[in-house]
């Protein structure tokens, strides 16, 4: 860049501005240029559709036919007269609580195990991460076979161990959600595991060594040294898992079709049904905005709560 050779202090302020401003402007232009493709895509494919769906939420908007402005009718109908809406919200929370808790437990345990002196560490990490990159549709298809009553692999395991073929995973409303959670757990824990492995590796060995010299046992080191130091990773994993599990769709869509009854219908599955089976875009948008608010609120609460337990 053509930097001024004269000491700027000795030059009049106007000359200074004249010299540096075009350079600044060029930099800014370049930055904007680099940002432009992403910004354009973000605007066209994210901001505009989000805005449009907000508008849609105030309309009775069938894909074909007349569109009528109905104000808050969709919201009122959703919250008061829809016979299944709250049950679907309940299902969604059932999934979120079950999935997030098990996911963190399993991924943290395995991350800890992989931190210890294990042979073929890299291989295990690869194997545990594999389900994350395999397509959910294929996973769900395979699990559907595993869950087959009487002759599925899981039923056969039960048969060998207990003499009965175990729960009717996909045919019984009480067992369908646990079946969806288990399958999602298998498919999803690898991601958090990798994040937590990275978090654990960042803990200086000197800390645990010092605790060990002071006489702290394994459990005590885990509870008072490792766990507090890995909380930033745990926090990140929790927030991301909660957000993604509130949006769960593929698993109920492929594995159970939302059934039996609506035992495994979640919010996104429900809005898909309204949007793409009934083509009622207005009502579907209202459900989408409810979900958006829900995610915002829960994430906000999580961020407020982190001061109490996350140690940076």
């Amino acid at each position: 860049m053509s930097a001024p050779t004269v000491d700027p202090v000795e030059r009049p302020p106007t000359a200074l501005r004249r010299d540096t401003r075009p350079a600044m402007r060029r930099e800014r232009r370049a930055a904007l240029g680099f940002l432009a493709p992403n910004l354009l895509g973000f605007t066209v494919f994210t901001i505009v559709p989000i805005g449009a769906s907000l508008v849609l939420a105030f309309y009775e908007w069938p894909l074909l036919g007349e569109r009528v402005f109905v104000g808050l009718d969709n919201v009122v109908r959703m919250l008061t007269t829809d016979p299944v809406f709250w049950q679907i919200v309940g299902n969604t929370f059932y999934f979120v609580v079950g999935y997030v808790a098990l996911n963190l437990l399993v991924s943290f345990s395995l991350a800890l195990w992989l931190q210890s002196r294990v042979r073929f560490k890299g291989f295990y990490r690869f194997v545990f991460f594999l389900p994350v990159v395999s397509p959910m549709v294929a996973n769900a298809m395979v699990w559907r076979m595993l869950y087959q009553r009487d002759d599925g692999l899981i039923a056969q395991l039960f048969q060998a161990l207990t003499g009965t073929s175990g729960p009717n995973w996909l045919g019984d409303a009480r067992w369908a959600m646990p079946a969806v959670i288990l399958m999602s757990l298998w498919a999803g824990f690898g991601y958090n595991m990798i994040i937590l492995v990275a978090g654990l590796q960042a803990i200086p060995a000197t800390m645990t060594e010092a605790a060990q010299i002071d006489g702290a046992g394994w459990w005590s080191r885990l509870a008072h040294v490792t766990l507090p130091l890995v909380t930033p990773s745990l926090f990140f994993a929790t927030v991301m898992t909660v957000i993604s599990s509130l949006q769960v769709f593929a698993q109920p869509f492929i594995l159970t079709g939302g059934g039996p009854g609506i035992a495994t219908s979640t919010l996104v599955f429900y809005l898909y049904q309204w949007g793409f089976q009934s083509y009622e875009m207005g009502y579907a948008s209202a459900i989408a905005w409810f979900l958006f608010m829900l995610i915002m609120t829960i994430t906000f609460i999580q961020f407020r709560g982190q001061k109490k337990w996350v140690h940076y």
Partner: protein
Amino acid sequence: MRIARRHAGIVLAGAVALTLAACGSGSTGGGGGTAGSDGGSTDGAGGSAGGGEKVTLRWAMSADSQAEVDVWNHLADMVTEAYPEIEVTFESTPYREYYNKLTAQAASNDLACIAGLQAQRVSDVGSLFVDLAPYFEQTGFDIADYSESIVEGLTSDGAQLAVPYDFGPFVVYVNKDLFDAAGLEQPQPGWTFEEFIAAAEALTKDGTYGWAVNGSPDAWLGWALSVGGVYMADGEPTLTDPGVVDGFGREVSLVTEYGVAQAPDASGQAGGASDLWRNGRAAMYIDGPWQLINARTTVDFEVGLTTLPSVDGTSITTMSGTGFGITSSCKNPDEAWKAISVIIGPEAQQYIADAGRGFPAYTAAQESWYETAGVDGAREAIETALETVDPYPTPAGWQQVSALLVQYSTEAFSGARTPAQVLELVQQQAG
């Protein structure tokens, strides 16, 4: 530094170009990028279509296999052979997504000129099609050459929205080998519910079942119609009608009372019943004749067909079928009609029959379909079923009702809810 900036400029230009290209391809489904297909070339030729210039027409239809795509492409070529100035480009979509795409395209004003229309979708998307009757008169086309029930199924308020190419009443598919192994006589059209139960009970053993149940109304409405059930009134579903409850209850009782069928699992996939039958795990199930040739070539047992067993002397089944119509936004309807008249014309119907695709709606081609199918009893079963078939008109939103019925029916089959409760729940949500 100057060189670096120049590089940055090149990179930037590339990035912008890429983004624009991505936008272009990304929006083809949404209506922006139609140049090159209907929007571009048809419009250009639109004004001078009569002058012998080439007209390109888009034709949308579902296809689930390359074999089907090949059949449609062949028919598209037949159009150009007959009318050199017309070129038809076929747009294939899997059946599961076809009507979603059609509706989305209609909403974004990007409909193909010619589109497939299934009878049970008339209430939902029929408004996208124009009445073909005026073209019949202009060109001396005789709709009476096509089977009456499906012609009726493709009308709405007296308007003929499509000309059918295939159709069929739902019939019972039989695994003849299992009947032989059980020492049972092959079931004949006209058999009764009691005979059916006796056979199904004898066939249910060693992990094999007599029947494969299906929560879809396509499969069990026959029981309801046979006992006088009324599933719609004034354009609204009436699922709590006593006859409908009786009919659905009959299908459910095959699992819960007679134990001749396995309770189905909740599943996001259709086709559980046909899979059980194809795998030899159920001796009978209900489906349309369009499955026959496909089924015969993919199973390793002998296939038979018969009618739905009669209840108190009556056996009525529903039917389905698909035709082709002109969409209301088509800018070259005259050419589109010419193309359709080839696609559903005698030669094409003969070709479809010989290729063993759907059971032809064109009555003159049905004979050779029976020959291609080569299944004993197919003719008797289909012709008997057609005598009493219900054209299966549906209320608006029937697809949602149908999906909900499949979703909730698992609870009836498992005994968690009664058939009446399930129908009540679906009726509540449909309303």
